[in-house]
């Protein structure tokens, strides 16, 4: 360890010892903000995962009164994809619908023998691209599809898909708000606590100046302080979140919705991102609060 590093660490330790109360308060604020933000982010991410796992459930079917002739298909495709992003559109003729049903029935297909091959209505199956916008707009989408010429009835997923859509939209707002909260609380608390440290050390800073301390000598320990608050604050927040996550996972098992919702924690990259952001905010906060003390 170089001599300079040793001095900086010693100075940091001295600062922490002198103002541990403020430091602790800042640490708690940072970890609490990280906890709140990452909690909502985790819920949000899990909901997106779940919606992806809903798979084919997310399909709208328009039942038509007559088949669409092949020449008309491109026009209808365009009309549909004008409204929303669509993964694929499949036109099902009467006979195709009949064959599908037959396949599904397998060994019991003789029940269809009495019926003609054209007893099922033709339909268009629409697989919307599975992003949140489409998920939340699904009701509007189906209303729109109902206005297409020849459309008799539009069917989509279960009704909870719709509710799910509203909920994810709400979550998105909450994630954004808690992100702003994280930023504000962290920057405010860290710069306030560093400012308190600096005010408490004003006499010392004056003498440091007078004996020729460089800006690096004065700033570095304070930046290290911010760095430590970022690292420990965010780690503590994430550890708390992980404990909550494990607890939830242990207590939420069983049939139904929860089997779809296989809970997942953040991937390593997101964890690193959250810690990095907290570090950036904390050092930024400390940098902002000491800048004006750096004049000679």
């Amino acid at each position: 360890m170089s001599r300079q590093t040793y001095f900086f660490l010693k100075q940091t330790a001295r600062n922490l010892k002198q103002s541990w109360g403020t430091q602790l308060l800042t640490l708690m604020t940072v970890s609490l903000s990280v906890l709140i933000f990452s909690f909502f982010l985790l819920v949000y991410i899990n909901m997106i995962n779940a919606s992806e796992r809903l798979g084919d459930e997310l399909r709208l079917i328009i039942y038509l009164d007559h088949e669409v002739i092949p020449e008309m298909q491109p026009r209808i495709r365009k009309k549909i994809s004008d409204f929303a992003e669509v993964e694929k559109i499949v036109f099902i003729s009467k006979s195709e619908a009949f064959h599908r049903l037959k396949e599904q029935l397998g060994g019991e297909q003789d029940v269809l023998d009495d019926l003609g091959a054209d007893f099922l209505p033709p339909s268009i199956e629409i697989y919307p691209r599975r992003n949140l916008h489409n998920l939340t707009q699904i009701k509007e989408f189906s209303d729109y599809l109902a206005t297409l010429p020849g459309a008799q009835k539009v069917q989509f997923g279960q009704s909870w898909v719709e509710r799910f859509g509203y909920f994810t939209e709400l979550m998105r707002v909450i994630v954004m708000l808690s992100g702003i909260l994280l930023i504000l609380a962290t920057v405010f608390m860290v710069s306030a606590s560093i400012r308190l440290t600096v005010v408490a050390k004003e006499a010392e800073l004056e003498i440091l100046r007078l004996v020729g301390a460089t800006n690096t000598y004065i700033q570095t320990p304070l930046l290290i302080e911010g760095l430590l608050q970022g690292i420990f604050g965010s780690s503590l927040g994430l550890v708390l979140l992980y404990s909550i996550f494990l607890w939830t996972k242990m207590h939420l098992h069983g049939p139904g919705l929860f089997s779809v919702l296989t809970l997942q924690f953040f991937p390593v990259s997101t964890t690193v991102m959250i810690i990095a952001t907290a570090i950036l905010l904390c050092t930024g906060g400390s940098f902002a609060s000491i800048r004006k003390y750096m004049r000679i």
Partner: protein, 241 residues
């Protein structure tokens, strides 16, 4: 440090300096002064004569309204922030109000200028212990400085100024709170530092510390030099103890 400094020039060169504090307090008026490298200079004068102001100008705590100040080859009117920092690392100042940090220990106070220069920890310990011996405060090494008496604090301030073995020592009333015996010890310390290469300027009221020396003395009166004693041609080495 002071690499730009050539020995044939005065170490400190003050030319026609005027310092006016707002609104119109004239602390120094048209003062000129040269101090040679390795000199011990006494600055005397009544209270309010401008002694502290002169010392503050030399260590860049104040800037003159008029005139030029040159310290160790730096023209203080053109000095950059980082040059001020490296110049200050070479100047030890005993402030009239001590500027001791009351919540830190005697050791920490004295070690500060060396820490700023990233001096090796072992060397810091050695030097502080040596200085504590000189100022007779070895037994207070780890006492919080706020608990010391005024005289003890003053001695800590002196040790701090001396700790980095600076090229220049500015001492403002260094014996103001000390009795004769300790004053003598302090003067011995300054003489030792001077023999080791420091130029020393002492501002003082205390006649006893300059009465029997052959060093140059300059008397200030209302911001003007009134009298200057000639430097006696005694060899400095004869004074080393």
């Amino acid at each position: 440090m002071l690499k730009s400094f050539s020995e044939d020039r005065p170490f400190i060169d003050i030319t026609k300096v005027t310092k006016v504090y707002p609104p119109d307090i004239i602390a120094l008026q048209n003062v000129s002064l040269s101090v040679d490298l390795g000199e011990i200079l006494f600055l005397t004068g009544m209270s309010g004569a401008g002694k502290t102001t002169l010392l503050k100008l030399i260590c860049c705590m104040e800037t003159p309204n008029k005139g030029l100040i040159d310290v160790g080859g730096y023209d203080l009117s053109k000095i950059s922030a980082s040059q001020i920092q490296s110049l200050r690392q070479q100047i030890g100042v005993v402030y009239q109000d001590f500027k001791i940090l009351p919540r830190q220990t005697v050791f920490q106070n004295i070690a500060m200028p060396m820490e700023v220069c990233f001096t090796n920890v072992k060397d810091i310990r050695k030097r502080v212990d040596q200085l504590l011996e000189s100022i007779k405060l070895t037994h207070k090494r780890d006492t919080v400085a706020g608990k010391l008496s005024r005289g003890e604090q003053q001695r800590v301030a002196i040790a701090r100024a001396a700790s980095n073995s600076p090229a220049l020592i500015l001492a403002d009333e260094p014996t103001g709170n000390l009795d004769a015996e300790i004053s003598e010890e302090i003067m011995k310390l300054f003489t030792e530092l001077n023999a080791a290469g420091s130029t020393v300027i002492i501002a003082t009221h205390d006649e006893s510390i300059y009465r029997n020396t052959e060093h140059r003395r300059i008397e200030l009166e209302h911001g003007l030099f009134s009298r200057q004693t000639q430097k006696k041609q005694l060899s400095l080495t004869g004074l080393m103890s």
